[in-house]
Symmetry: C2
Subunit: 210 residues, 2 copies
Protein backbone atom coordinates (compact mmCIF):
# COMPACT_ATOMS: atom_id res chain seq x y z
CA UNK A 1 0.00 0.00 0.00
CA UNK A 2 2.89 2.31 0.83
CA UNK A 3 3.87 2.96 -2.75
CA UNK A 4 0.35 3.76 -3.94
CA UNK A 5 -0.58 7.40 -4.39
CA UNK A 6 -2.73 8.66 -1.54
CA UNK A 7 -6.20 10.18 -1.70
CA UNK A 8 -8.67 11.54 0.82
CA UNK A 9 -12.22 10.33 0.19
CA UNK A 10 -15.18 12.17 1.70
CA UNK A 11 -17.54 9.42 2.79
CA UNK A 12 -21.07 10.02 4.04
CA UNK A 13 -22.45 6.51 4.19
CA UNK A 14 -24.71 7.29 1.26
CA UNK A 15 -24.71 5.61 -2.11
CA UNK A 16 -22.86 8.30 -4.08
CA UNK A 17 -19.83 8.58 -1.81
CA UNK A 18 -19.60 4.78 -1.54
CA UNK A 19 -19.41 4.52 -5.34
CA UNK A 20 -16.85 7.35 -5.33
CA UNK A 21 -14.67 5.42 -2.85
CA UNK A 22 -14.78 2.33 -5.07
CA UNK A 23 -13.87 4.42 -8.10
CA UNK A 24 -10.90 5.91 -6.22
CA UNK A 25 -9.73 2.43 -5.26
CA UNK A 26 -10.19 1.23 -8.83
CA UNK A 27 -8.01 4.15 -9.97
CA UNK A 28 -5.25 2.79 -7.75
CA UNK A 29 -5.39 5.22 -4.85
CA UNK A 30 -4.54 4.36 -1.28
CA UNK A 31 -7.73 5.82 0.20
CA UNK A 32 -8.04 7.62 3.51
CA UNK A 33 -11.71 8.15 4.27
CA UNK A 34 -13.10 11.11 6.14
CA UNK A 35 -16.57 10.88 7.72
CA UNK A 36 -18.32 13.78 9.42
CA UNK A 37 -20.54 13.59 12.44
CA UNK A 38 -22.24 16.98 12.32
CA UNK A 39 -25.35 16.13 14.29
CA UNK A 40 -27.25 15.03 11.19
CA UNK A 41 -30.70 13.62 11.86
CA UNK A 42 -29.96 10.58 9.69
CA UNK A 43 -27.23 9.28 11.97
CA UNK A 44 -27.45 5.79 10.54
CA UNK A 45 -25.36 6.96 7.62
CA UNK A 46 -22.32 7.25 9.92
CA UNK A 47 -22.65 3.58 10.84
CA UNK A 48 -23.10 2.78 7.15
CA UNK A 49 -19.91 4.67 6.34
CA UNK A 50 -17.97 2.66 8.92
CA UNK A 51 -19.27 -0.63 7.50
CA UNK A 52 -18.34 0.37 3.96
CA UNK A 53 -14.85 1.40 5.04
CA UNK A 54 -14.38 -1.87 6.90
CA UNK A 55 -15.29 -3.79 3.76
CA UNK A 56 -12.69 -1.94 1.70
CA UNK A 57 -9.93 -2.14 4.30
CA UNK A 58 -9.18 1.59 3.94
CA UNK A 59 -8.35 3.86 6.84
CA UNK A 60 -11.07 6.08 8.24
CA UNK A 61 -11.39 9.06 10.52
CA UNK A 62 -14.74 10.21 11.90
CA UNK A 63 -14.66 13.92 12.70
CA UNK A 64 -17.21 15.50 14.98
CA UNK A 65 -18.03 19.02 13.94
CA UNK A 66 -20.43 21.46 15.46
CA UNK A 67 -22.43 23.91 13.38
CA UNK A 68 -24.24 25.81 16.12
CA UNK A 69 -26.03 28.08 13.66
CA UNK A 70 -28.19 25.39 12.04
CA UNK A 71 -30.03 26.48 8.96
CA UNK A 72 -31.12 23.15 7.52
CA UNK A 73 -33.61 20.34 7.90
CA UNK A 74 -30.73 17.86 7.81
CA UNK A 75 -29.82 19.22 11.21
CA UNK A 76 -33.27 18.53 12.56
CA UNK A 77 -34.79 22.00 12.63
CA UNK A 78 -37.90 23.20 10.84
CA UNK A 79 -36.33 24.92 7.84
CA UNK A 80 -37.77 23.14 4.80
CA UNK A 81 -34.60 23.34 2.72
CA UNK A 82 -32.11 20.49 3.06
CA UNK A 83 -29.27 22.88 2.36
CA UNK A 84 -26.64 23.11 5.11
CA UNK A 85 -24.79 26.41 4.61
CA UNK A 86 -21.26 25.79 3.48
CA UNK A 87 -21.31 22.10 4.32
CA UNK A 88 -19.23 20.84 1.40
CA UNK A 89 -16.91 23.83 1.81
CA UNK A 90 -16.22 22.82 5.42
CA UNK A 91 -15.88 19.13 4.53
CA UNK A 92 -13.48 19.86 1.67
CA UNK A 93 -11.46 22.21 3.89
CA UNK A 94 -10.86 19.48 6.45
CA UNK A 95 -10.01 17.09 3.61
CA UNK A 96 -7.51 19.63 2.32
CA UNK A 97 -5.85 19.93 5.72
CA UNK A 98 -5.71 16.13 5.99
CA UNK A 99 -4.32 15.85 2.45
CA UNK A 100 -1.56 18.32 3.27
CA UNK A 101 -0.70 16.51 6.48
CA UNK A 102 -0.25 13.09 4.84
CA UNK A 103 0.94 14.36 1.44
CA UNK A 104 -2.10 13.13 -0.47
CA UNK A 105 -2.55 14.82 -3.83
CA UNK A 106 -6.22 14.06 -4.51
CA UNK A 107 -9.53 14.55 -2.72
CA UNK A 108 -12.55 12.57 -3.89
CA UNK A 109 -16.07 13.86 -3.35
CA UNK A 110 -19.34 12.23 -4.46
CA UNK A 111 -21.01 15.51 -5.44
CA UNK A 112 -23.11 15.54 -8.58
CA UNK A 113 -25.32 18.02 -10.31
CA UNK A 114 -28.23 15.77 -11.22
CA UNK A 115 -30.31 15.36 -8.13
CA UNK A 116 -29.39 18.41 -6.15
CA UNK A 117 -28.83 21.09 -8.70
CA UNK A 118 -30.07 23.60 -6.15
CA UNK A 119 -27.12 23.06 -3.82
CA UNK A 120 -24.59 25.77 -4.62
CA UNK A 121 -21.75 23.68 -3.18
CA UNK A 122 -22.38 20.77 -5.56
CA UNK A 123 -21.97 22.84 -8.71
CA UNK A 124 -19.04 22.25 -11.07
CA UNK A 125 -18.09 25.94 -10.91
CA UNK A 126 -17.85 25.71 -7.13
CA UNK A 127 -15.59 22.65 -7.24
CA UNK A 128 -13.40 24.36 -9.80
CA UNK A 129 -13.15 27.48 -7.63
CA UNK A 130 -12.38 25.35 -4.58
CA UNK A 131 -9.55 23.67 -6.47
CA UNK A 132 -8.16 27.06 -7.48
CA UNK A 133 -8.32 28.23 -3.86
CA UNK A 134 -6.57 25.05 -2.72
CA UNK A 135 -3.79 25.86 -5.15
CA UNK A 136 -3.24 29.22 -3.43
CA UNK A 137 -3.82 28.38 0.22
CA UNK A 138 -1.76 25.25 0.74
CA UNK A 139 1.91 24.44 0.90
CA UNK A 140 1.34 21.90 -1.87
CA UNK A 141 -0.15 24.62 -4.04
CA UNK A 142 2.72 26.99 -3.37
CA UNK A 143 5.17 24.23 -4.23
CA UNK A 144 3.41 23.70 -7.56
CA UNK A 145 2.13 20.23 -6.78
CA UNK A 146 -1.47 21.11 -6.08
CA UNK A 147 -4.12 18.94 -4.48
CA UNK A 148 -6.72 17.96 -7.06
CA UNK A 149 -10.46 17.84 -6.27
CA UNK A 150 -11.96 14.82 -8.02
CA UNK A 151 -15.72 14.46 -8.42
CA UNK A 152 -16.05 11.48 -10.75
CA UNK A 153 -19.87 11.44 -10.50
CA UNK A 154 -20.33 15.15 -11.19
CA UNK A 155 -22.25 14.82 -14.45
CA UNK A 156 -23.74 11.36 -13.87
CA UNK A 157 -27.40 10.56 -13.39
CA UNK A 158 -28.39 8.50 -10.34
CA UNK A 159 -29.07 5.46 -12.52
CA UNK A 160 -25.60 5.72 -14.09
CA UNK A 161 -24.00 5.98 -10.64
CA UNK A 162 -25.85 2.84 -9.59
CA UNK A 163 -24.72 0.98 -12.72
CA UNK A 164 -21.08 1.98 -12.12
CA UNK A 165 -21.37 0.95 -8.48
CA UNK A 166 -22.89 -2.40 -9.39
CA UNK A 167 -19.95 -3.14 -11.70
CA UNK A 168 -17.52 -2.30 -8.90
CA UNK A 169 -19.41 -4.48 -6.39
CA UNK A 170 -20.26 -1.57 -4.11
CA UNK A 171 -22.19 -2.99 -1.13
CA UNK A 172 -25.34 -0.97 -1.82
CA UNK A 173 -27.20 -2.80 0.94
CA UNK A 174 -24.89 -1.15 3.44
CA UNK A 175 -25.34 2.37 2.13
CA UNK A 176 -27.85 4.70 3.72
CA UNK A 177 -29.69 7.41 1.80
CA UNK A 178 -32.80 8.31 3.82
CA UNK A 179 -32.96 11.75 5.46
CA UNK A 180 -35.77 10.92 7.88
CA UNK A 181 -33.70 9.37 10.66
CA UNK A 182 -35.81 6.23 11.21
CA UNK A 183 -34.75 2.61 11.57
CA UNK A 184 -35.64 1.84 7.95
CA UNK A 185 -35.66 4.13 4.89
CA UNK A 186 -38.88 6.18 4.90
CA UNK A 187 -39.37 5.80 1.16
CA UNK A 188 -40.83 9.30 1.01
CA UNK A 189 -38.01 11.82 1.37
CA UNK A 190 -36.25 13.27 -1.68
CA UNK A 191 -33.25 11.05 -1.14
CA UNK A 192 -35.35 7.85 -0.98
CA UNK A 193 -37.26 8.99 -4.05
CA UNK A 194 -34.16 9.54 -6.20
CA UNK A 195 -32.60 6.30 -5.01
CA UNK A 196 -35.69 4.27 -5.90
CA UNK A 197 -35.98 6.04 -9.27
CA UNK A 198 -32.28 5.42 -9.94
CA UNK A 199 -32.45 1.70 -9.25
CA UNK A 200 -35.59 1.42 -11.37
CA UNK A 201 -33.95 3.21 -14.32
CA UNK A 202 -30.82 1.10 -13.92
CA UNK A 203 -32.94 -2.05 -14.00
CA UNK A 204 -31.47 -3.23 -10.70
CA UNK A 205 -32.92 -4.26 -7.35
CA UNK A 206 -32.07 -2.21 -4.26
CA UNK A 207 -31.08 -4.89 -1.76
CA UNK A 208 -31.16 -2.35 1.07
CA UNK A 209 -34.95 -2.53 0.80
CA UNK A 210 -35.17 -6.32 0.69
Amino acid sequence: MGIKKKAIVLLSGGLDSAVTLYIAKKQGFNCHCLVFDYGQRHRKEIESAKKIVKKTGCSCKVLKINLPWGGSSLLGDKVPSTYVPGRNIIFLSFALSYAEAIAARAIFIGAHTQDYSGYPDCRPEFLKAFGAMAGKGTKAGVENSSIVIKAPLLYKRKSEIIKIGAKLNVPFNQTWSCYAGGEKPCGKCDSCYYRRKGFKEAGLIDKALC
Copy 2:
Protein backbone atom coordinates in the same frame (compact mmCIF):
# COMPACT_ATOMS: atom_id res chain seq x y z
CA MET B 1 -28.00 46.77 16.68
CA GLY B 2 -30.61 45.06 14.56
CA ILE B 3 -30.37 47.46 11.66
CA LYS B 4 -26.59 47.38 11.42
CA LYS B 5 -25.04 45.23 8.71
CA LYS B 6 -23.69 41.98 10.11
CA ALA B 7 -20.15 40.60 9.94
CA ILE B 8 -18.41 37.48 11.16
CA VAL B 9 -15.04 38.23 12.79
CA LEU B 10 -12.45 35.49 13.21
CA LEU B 11 -10.97 36.11 16.63
CA SER B 12 -7.94 34.28 18.00
CA GLY B 13 -7.20 36.25 21.14
CA GLY B 14 -4.05 37.61 19.51
CA LEU B 15 -3.26 41.21 18.79
CA ASP B 16 -4.02 41.20 15.05
CA SER B 17 -7.52 39.77 15.25
CA ALA B 18 -8.38 42.07 18.18
CA VAL B 19 -7.42 45.10 16.08
CA THR B 20 -9.43 43.62 13.19
CA LEU B 21 -12.51 43.33 15.42
CA TYR B 22 -12.18 46.98 16.46
CA ILE B 23 -11.81 48.02 12.82
CA ALA B 24 -14.97 46.08 11.90
CA LYS B 25 -16.86 47.77 14.73
CA LYS B 26 -15.52 51.16 13.65
CA GLN B 27 -16.80 50.43 10.13
CA GLY B 28 -20.27 50.07 11.59
CA PHE B 29 -20.66 46.30 11.53
CA ASN B 30 -22.67 44.31 14.03
CA CYS B 31 -19.92 41.79 14.78
CA HIS B 32 -20.38 38.11 15.49
CA CYS B 33 -17.08 36.67 16.66
CA LEU B 34 -15.93 33.15 15.98
CA VAL B 35 -13.18 31.62 18.14
CA PHE B 36 -11.65 28.21 17.50
CA ASP B 37 -10.50 25.76 20.11
CA TYR B 38 -8.37 23.40 18.03
CA GLY B 39 -6.18 22.06 20.80
CA GLN B 40 -3.58 24.79 20.37
CA ARG B 41 -0.75 24.70 22.88
CA HIS B 42 -1.21 28.42 23.64
CA ARG B 43 -4.67 27.95 25.10
CA LYS B 44 -4.54 31.25 26.95
CA GLU B 45 -5.45 32.97 23.71
CA ILE B 46 -8.97 31.51 23.91
CA GLU B 47 -9.47 33.15 27.30
CA SER B 48 -8.03 36.36 25.86
CA ALA B 49 -10.51 36.20 23.00
CA LYS B 50 -13.42 35.85 25.41
CA LYS B 51 -12.22 38.86 27.44
CA ILE B 52 -11.88 41.00 24.32
CA VAL B 53 -15.35 40.01 23.11
CA LYS B 54 -16.84 40.82 26.51
CA LYS B 55 -15.29 44.28 26.38
CA THR B 56 -16.85 44.99 22.99
CA GLY B 57 -20.28 43.57 23.81
CA CYS B 58 -20.31 41.53 20.59
CA SER B 59 -21.66 38.01 20.35
CA CYS B 60 -19.20 35.13 20.35
CA LYS B 61 -19.17 31.46 19.56
CA VAL B 62 -16.29 29.19 20.54
CA LEU B 63 -16.07 26.20 18.20
CA LYS B 64 -14.14 23.10 19.16
CA ILE B 65 -12.54 21.47 16.16
CA ASN B 66 -10.40 18.41 15.95
CA LEU B 67 -7.52 18.10 13.51
CA PRO B 68 -6.38 14.55 14.25
CA TRP B 69 -3.61 14.68 11.65
CA GLY B 70 -1.51 17.33 13.40
CA GLY B 71 1.35 18.64 11.36
CA SER B 72 2.33 21.72 13.33
CA SER B 73 4.15 22.93 16.40
CA LEU B 74 1.11 25.02 17.31
CA LEU B 75 -0.58 21.73 18.03
CA GLY B 76 2.16 20.66 20.40
CA ASP B 77 4.01 18.09 18.31
CA LYS B 78 7.65 18.13 17.31
CA VAL B 79 7.39 19.49 13.77
CA PRO B 80 9.41 22.72 13.77
CA SER B 81 7.12 24.64 11.40
CA THR B 82 4.28 26.61 12.96
CA TYR B 83 2.14 26.00 9.89
CA VAL B 84 -1.15 24.19 10.53
CA PRO B 85 -2.26 22.69 7.21
CA GLY B 86 -5.32 24.46 5.92
CA ARG B 87 -6.07 26.21 9.19
CA ASN B 88 -7.30 29.50 7.78
CA ILE B 89 -9.18 27.60 5.07
CA ILE B 90 -11.08 25.67 7.74
CA PHE B 91 -11.65 28.77 9.88
CA LEU B 92 -12.94 30.76 6.91
CA SER B 93 -15.18 27.87 5.84
CA PHE B 94 -16.91 27.83 9.21
CA ALA B 95 -17.19 31.62 9.06
CA LEU B 96 -18.80 31.29 5.63
CA SER B 97 -21.35 28.80 6.91
CA TYR B 98 -22.11 31.09 9.86
CA ALA B 99 -22.38 34.11 7.57
CA GLU B 100 -24.87 32.29 5.35
CA ALA B 101 -26.93 31.19 8.33
CA ILE B 102 -27.32 34.70 9.79
CA ALA B 103 -27.22 36.58 6.47
CA ALA B 104 -23.95 38.38 7.20
CA ARG B 105 -22.26 39.70 4.10
CA ALA B 106 -18.71 40.20 5.39
CA ILE B 107 -16.08 38.07 7.09
CA PHE B 108 -13.16 39.80 8.80
CA ILE B 109 -9.82 38.05 9.24
CA GLY B 110 -6.65 39.45 10.82
CA ALA B 111 -4.31 37.82 8.29
CA HIS B 112 -1.36 39.85 7.08
CA THR B 113 1.63 39.22 4.89
CA GLN B 114 4.31 40.97 6.91
CA ASP B 115 5.24 38.62 9.69
CA TYR B 116 4.20 35.31 8.29
CA SER B 117 4.88 35.55 4.61
CA GLY B 118 5.61 31.83 4.61
CA TYR B 119 2.04 30.84 5.49
CA PRO B 120 0.30 30.06 2.20
CA ASP B 121 -3.11 30.73 3.73
CA CYS B 122 -2.21 34.30 4.72
CA ARG B 123 -1.33 35.36 1.18
CA PRO B 124 -3.45 37.94 -0.67
CA GLU B 125 -3.87 35.58 -3.62
CA PHE B 126 -5.28 32.93 -1.30
CA LEU B 127 -7.82 35.33 0.24
CA LYS B 128 -8.85 36.45 -3.23
CA ALA B 129 -9.31 32.83 -4.36
CA PHE B 130 -11.26 32.04 -1.21
CA GLY B 131 -13.59 34.96 -1.94
CA ALA B 132 -14.10 33.71 -5.49
CA MET B 133 -14.88 30.23 -4.20
CA ALA B 134 -17.35 31.68 -1.67
CA GLY B 135 -19.10 33.39 -4.57
CA LYS B 136 -19.66 30.00 -6.23
CA GLY B 137 -20.34 27.73 -3.28
CA THR B 138 -22.90 29.67 -1.27
CA LYS B 139 -26.51 30.61 -1.68
CA ALA B 140 -25.50 34.25 -1.24
CA GLY B 141 -23.04 33.88 -4.09
CA VAL B 142 -25.58 32.24 -6.36
CA GLU B 143 -28.02 35.05 -5.58
CA ASN B 144 -25.40 37.61 -6.58
CA SER B 145 -24.96 39.10 -3.13
CA SER B 146 -21.69 37.48 -2.27
CA ILE B 147 -19.99 37.33 1.12
CA VAL B 148 -16.88 39.51 1.13
CA ILE B 149 -13.64 38.46 2.83
CA LYS B 150 -12.13 41.50 4.52
CA ALA B 151 -8.52 41.48 5.69
CA PRO B 152 -7.91 45.13 6.67
CA LEU B 153 -4.41 44.41 8.02
CA LEU B 154 -3.22 42.47 4.99
CA TYR B 155 -0.47 44.84 3.90
CA LYS B 156 0.26 46.43 7.30
CA ARG B 157 3.44 46.07 9.30
CA LYS B 158 3.13 44.99 12.93
CA SER B 159 3.99 48.49 14.13
CA GLU B 160 1.25 49.99 11.93
CA ILE B 161 -1.27 47.46 13.28
CA ILE B 162 -0.31 48.47 16.82
CA LYS B 163 -0.68 52.16 16.02
CA ILE B 164 -4.14 51.58 14.49
CA GLY B 165 -5.14 49.48 17.50
CA ALA B 166 -3.92 52.13 19.94
CA LYS B 167 -6.08 54.76 18.23
CA LEU B 168 -9.11 52.46 18.50
CA ASN B 169 -8.43 51.72 22.18
CA VAL B 170 -7.89 48.01 21.61
CA PRO B 171 -7.20 46.42 25.02
CA PHE B 172 -3.72 45.18 24.08
CA ASN B 173 -3.07 44.04 27.64
CA GLN B 174 -5.79 41.42 27.17
CA THR B 175 -4.45 40.05 23.90
CA TRP B 176 -2.21 37.00 23.87
CA SER B 177 0.49 36.42 21.28
CA CYS B 178 2.93 33.87 22.73
CA TYR B 179 3.08 30.40 21.18
CA ALA B 180 4.84 28.70 24.08
CA GLY B 181 1.82 27.94 26.25
CA GLY B 182 3.20 29.28 29.55
CA GLU B 183 1.55 31.48 32.16
CA LYS B 184 3.39 34.57 30.90
CA PRO B 185 4.67 35.39 27.38
CA CYS B 186 8.00 33.59 26.84
CA GLY B 187 9.57 36.57 25.06
CA LYS B 188 11.49 34.19 22.80
CA CYS B 189 9.09 32.69 20.25
CA ASP B 190 8.57 34.29 16.84
CA SER B 191 5.27 35.76 17.90
CA CYS B 192 6.72 37.40 21.04
CA TYR B 193 9.63 38.70 18.96
CA TYR B 194 7.43 40.39 16.34
CA ARG B 195 5.14 41.81 18.98
CA ARG B 196 8.03 43.37 20.93
CA LYS B 197 9.59 44.70 17.71
CA GLY B 198 6.21 46.13 16.64
CA PHE B 199 5.63 48.00 19.90
CA LYS B 200 9.19 49.33 19.81
CA GLU B 201 8.81 50.60 16.24
CA ALA B 202 5.42 52.10 17.09
CA GLY B 203 6.99 53.90 20.05
CA LEU B 204 4.43 52.42 22.42
CA ILE B 205 4.62 50.38 25.61
CA ASP B 206 3.18 46.86 25.63
CA LYS B 207 1.09 46.86 28.80
CA ALA B 208 0.68 43.09 28.60
CA LEU B 209 4.30 42.87 29.74
CA CYS B 210 4.00 45.39 32.60
